[in-house]
Symmetry: D2
Subunit: 289 residues, 4 copies
């Protein structure tokens, strides 16, 4: 795990069917171009026979542009039938945050972004409430209020999609946005739409997980960050964590304690995503952290 590099790096992420020689082929490709590896991870899932790799290359040591690098990598990628991409660390992802009334996840993400812990741009925040406007605008980030009612849901999401497109956003984060996102938006941002659910999934899917946890009498409560898919709370899990509770906690205590877990889980998940540490494989993730 390496903190955000301020130097320019190229991150090469690839996955394909496993074969003998694949690590050698990719690392040889980099070495022949004199690329210095800052961080490099790979993993083979022996059940599925699938291979995953992430290489962070010091851009200065390569004597070529990222486009040239991509062009030169193409034959190798085709040979192994890879899914792949190369990202320039200086081309930060644009991340739009959706939020409702609760501030804890949003406040945490904005603070970390401001402290350079999250290598992204946040072109705007979208909310169906007005209460968090000033805390967003303090950071110089535009705040868009889009009312959502039972009646206007399709129009509201059409408007939000328009806003998101206007900013050319690559990733959406649902920072306790209490509305179900329509399937077309899920599809459009497949693998780029991150949610935080306030339970240790698959326990307590859906609404009111703290109430359900309280009623069940669990001794730990948790939070789960996952990519959103059409099925509610069923997408690939990126990160989870828990905190101990006891009989002496009432429901309000669970909510209060859970907030800390939610915000740390979401911020870790987003950081992994932004640093290209997460590769989705079926309904699961490989996370090189």
């Amino acid at each position: 795990m390496t903190s955000i590099e301020k130097e320019q790096t190229y991150c090469l992420v690839t996955s394909c069917a496993d074969r003998v020689g694949i690590v050698a082929a990719v690392t040889k490709f980099v070495a022949e171009r004199n690329g210095s590896l800052i961080e490099s991870n790979h993993h083979t899932n022996h059940d599925s026979g699938w291979f995953f790799m992430r290489n962070v290359i010091d851009a200065e040591t390569l004597e070529m542009s990222i486009d040239e690098l991509r062009e030169q990598f193409l034959p190798l990628a085709e040979q192994y039938d890879m899914e792949w991409y190369i990202r320039d660390s200086r081309q930060m992802q644009k991340v739009v945050i959706f939020v409702s009334h609760a501030s804890h996840c949003l406040a945490d993400l904005l603070y970390r972004w401001h402290s350079d812990e999250l290598n992204c741009e946040i072109p705007c925040v979208i909310s169906n409430h007005e209460n968090l406007r000033s805390s967003v605008e303090w950071y110089g980030i535009p705040f868009h209020y889009v009312e959502v009612t039972k009646q206007n849901k399709p129009q509201a999401f059409a408007k939000m999609t328009e806003i998101v497109s206007g900013y050319d956003a690559e990733t959406l984060v649902l920072a306790r946005y209490m509305q179900i996102v329509p399937p077309d938006l899920c599809d459009k941002f497949r693998g780029h739409l991150i949610n935080i659910h306030h339970s240790f999934l698959p326990s307590f899917v859906g609404a009111n997980p703290y109430q359900k946890a309280y009623e069940r009498g669990v001794k730990l409560i948790g939070a789960t960050s996952h990519y959103v898919t059409d099925e509610l709370d069923e997408g690939p899990i990126i990160e989870q964590d828990v905190i101990r509770v006891s009989h002496s906690c009432n429901k309000e205590d669970l909510v209060r304690l859970g907030k800390d877990v939610e915000r740390s889980v979401l911020s870790r998940a987003l950081r992994y995503h932004l640093e290209d540490r997460v590769i989705v494989h079926g309904n699961k993730t490989v996370v090189f952290n």
Copy 2:
């Protein structure tokens, strides 16, 4: 949390509807008899309006037998309509352990019992396999093999119930005993039949939780110790814990890592139970630890 007292203590455990003055009444009762409190906990659940209390009294400071103490406590108990009991720490509970093929929970319990971490007698171990006989008998504990097949289940459980009754056992522990216990045994040992389930309940109820956890791609796996009721894996939870896993863990890794969680959760739950730290309330527990 105090380790097993070697001195003799009386543990007074009580619960009732909450009222002003109840702590005062109980502690005054003890103080008037010159009883020195070694440990004392109480809790009120403000949702249900129910009060819970556990007092560990130095037996030497009381100038009476436990029976006299019980007799003298009776009027107070009736006044407040309490559920209550007083246990002498030297009258250890008899705990029968049920086990199948897997040894890890059994081995841990026997080791801790042998090391005086568990204040109980273990009059025997019952198993539907023979493989753990010698490791049980090494401790000088009788090992009973009772075969269980699809055909003989009622007879097998009748036989086991007979064995348990013969030892006058108060508590049963299912230390990864892979058979569903019949309802009449559940009823007979209500609040005294402890199971370890190899998942973080309510996730992955029923069979093969590690397989399910692997397929879901969770980032933590867990274990849950609970009192057994008629409903599978739905009884009051005593203790839970989790351990972090990653994409690099295959199913066998989950099993291996999970074993450590199972055994520590079960041994903690049993210790809490034996030290009279657990009070069942509806389908939940108060655990004074």
Copy 3:
């Protein structure tokens, strides 16, 4: 553990030499005045023979002012030679935060305070840097810049003490304030001056703990919140926590990961302090959480 009560409560905190009947005496005192206990904890340290108790009483159920309550409690307190106080939950402590350049602990405390997680007033923040002014003033809290140099240290601390006195502050928090506080201020705020040290004490006392942790190759890093005394990093510990690190973490990673531990440890410690959950005993603490 109960979240901050919005209803008015009186918190009675007491400690004294242990004696038979002390719990009965205190709870009887409360019950005779019809006081309803919302939360009640007590503990006896059998090594030192010292008794500690915290009672949270629903103020509405008592038909008297807090001053009358104090007056009526006095004879009992004298009888048992108690140290004691009674606090009204509506009379919030005034907490002045000292901060240097690093923002993470301050930002966390201000956010939690704003979210009603910390039951206090924050009359001002004092810093020897200007960089955090706007983030403090956004909350409507005055920000005082007091320059500290090698030459002006006594004068600077005199000025800060004056500011603190002007606000009638009861508690000081050093939220990564990188100056050693002079002994007279330590004495004046004995038991009310809270520091966060960025290591798992007693490891890595003094400056640059992350550097030292990196050099020693520890596998967990931590943070410690403690009351400040004359001896550097030797005061009574209120709360500690750790996070796992590995060989792949460089020093910057330790700093980044540690920040999360620091802020959660400090905010928990301050919450315990504000809710009167902490009793100092010698160089240790009893924390009823």
Copy 4:
């Protein structure tokens, strides 16, 4: 992390000064021999400029003996000036366990070894007490009693060294062996002599760490497994962990809770060591887990 492979594997572990192309060179070497990588990790410490790599190769996919493999690897190793070794997973390390009176770490190691969690032979256990003989012999492992007194220490250690040599042991484990090992034995088994210290080092070096922890009032206690060097408790740390304690724990509680941490930390450390996951670098370790 992969559990112990029952199939035959060769584990190639290497470290050297970092250079461009080194991952490519090693993985190409393996791939050219048709070796299938089961697990592969590498790491560069950018501060020291040092490179570390561990490759687990399916032995069946290589059409050569381990000696041929070593011979063929030699030129590459020399080219990069590597420290390296290749181990056959079927050539299990011989591990001699030293123990005093306390059984918890020993019992845990023997149980795990018996359960195939530790890929080693245990040719014997050596103790300066007799009390654990029968629990060792139950596993069919020879138990050697070697008395150690103030007077006979050199002779006693000479005798123990002789026993160890007689078994051709590669690794020694001090499973709460309460004697300081003489420097020549430390040197002889440098990087192969593993200790468990019952504190979170560097806190509480030396004797009676639980007593010291109790006196300091820490809120977490821990354990540390490390390679032994001449300097007491200063060797490279392999693994650490902690557990939460509170004011209600007396010293005996710390001891009891700590035992669980000690045994899990030691068993993890030994497993990492046996699976060639640990590389010592200066006074620190790289642990590929």
